[in-house]
């Protein structure tokens, strides 16, 4: 089985098209360990937007719970970490994962990285992009149980107008600026969460827990290395 997967992956690297595999093939450790509870840490913000971290935190508990996991109350966890002087997840990235079991009773820890949460302007248009990566670490073994990343780009280029020449161009630029400024990142982050969490094996509370190994659609290139 594994040999076939390796052959297929090698061929795909030559052909260069997207390979999708099943949840069971992509994340065997999840099915072996079956973590029940997940500690979500504050996101690591690699974007240029300082608000991203706070706003992103409001979006993750719901979809993760719907995947069937117990999620420790994020607002309280954040306060507890702050009281311990931990303002940035970067400080505890290399911490022995078993500490999270010791201090919180968590079976797994979710690290999220906000890779992009920003606006781009180009010659006559603009877009807004949200790109987030997820890594679920076992507090038992320290190994990666599940990982994935997803991104969403929304084109906020101003609409075509009938004003010709330079005036028309300026109008379009202004429209782009307004659309881009108004674009709310949080709904985009929610969409990214939903997209990415379709690949996580169902947790204990999900009605189909333990039956989804053969569900396909996991894009190999989106699994974090």
């Amino acid at each position: 089985m594994v040999k076939n997967v390796i052959i297929i992956l090698s061929l795909t690297m030559f052909i260069g098209c997207a390979t999708t595999i099943t949840k069971g093939e992509a994340f065997p450790k999840m099915y072996k360990e079956k973590p029940l509870s997940i500690l979500v840490l504050p996101p690591i913000n690699q974007s240029t937007s300082p608000d991203a971290k706070e706003y992103y935190s409001t979006t993750i508990a719901e979809p993760l719970s719907l995947a069937g996991y117990y999620v420790f109350p994020i607002e309280i966890v954040n306060e507890v970490l702050k009281q311990e002087g931990i303002y940035d997840t970067e400080l505890i990235v290399d911490l022995d994962a078993s500490k999270f079991k010791e201090y919180f009773g968590a079976d797994a820890v979710l690290f999220t990285r906000i890779i992009q949460w920003n606006t781009s302007y180009y010659v006559v248009g603009g877009n807004v992009k949200v790109h987030i990566a997820f890594d679920l670490i076992s507090t038992d073994t320290g190994e990666v149980l599940w990982s994935y990343n997803g991104e969403l780009t929304v084109d906020t280029t101003g609409g075509g107008n009938n004003v010709g020449g330079a005036a028309g161009l300026l109008l379009q630029l202004a429209e782009t600026a307004v659309k881009t400024a108004a674009q709310d990142y949080t709904p985009m982050a929610k969409k990214v969460n939903t997209m990415v969490l379709t690949t996580i094996p169902f947790g204990f509370y999900h009605p189909q827990f333990g039956t989804d190994q053969s569900l396909t659609g996991v894009k190999v290139e989106n699994v974090n290395k």
């Binding site: 999620v71 109350p73 009773g105």
Partner: protein, 119 residues
């Protein structure tokens, strides 16, 4: 009469077969977002009401209260020094999700110490 009965039975079947979502989260993330954007007594109070609404609707629909919701409400009561209410909701989190026991017990321990210091 017979046709109406058949149609009604059919409708009940379809409605019965429609899976209910696992949890009712209400307007949680928007409510919390407003607190993050602008942390005032008003936004916090609205969020507290939203948490209570989620708990109420979950109970009405026979659903488990979503993970963390009881605890978050308990924590807000804790911050407002309403220790009795805090204990009720923190304990509800424990009884709904036994895997939260260590986390909640540690919080309750801090609550006890806080109360002793205040008293």
């Amino acid at each position: 009469m017979k046709n109406t009965t058949i149609i009604l039975l059919f409708i009940f079947l379809i409605v019965g077969c429609t899976p209910q979502p696992m949890y009712y989260w209400g307007d949680y993330s928007n409510s919390l977002y407003k607190v993050k954007k602008d942390a005032t007594p008003e936004t916090l109070d609205k969020h507290k009401i939203e948490l209570q609404e989620i708990i109420k609707k979950s109970n009405e629909r026979g659903l488990r209260v979503p993970p963390g919701i009881n605890a978050e409400l308990g924590y807000i009561f804790l911050l407002q020094a309403q220790y009795d209410q805090a204990m009720i909701y923190l304990n509800k989190e424990k009884s709904t999700y036994p895997e939260s026991t260590k986390f909640i017990d540690d919080l309750l321990q801090n609550l006890k110490e806080g109360e002793e210091n205040d008293g």
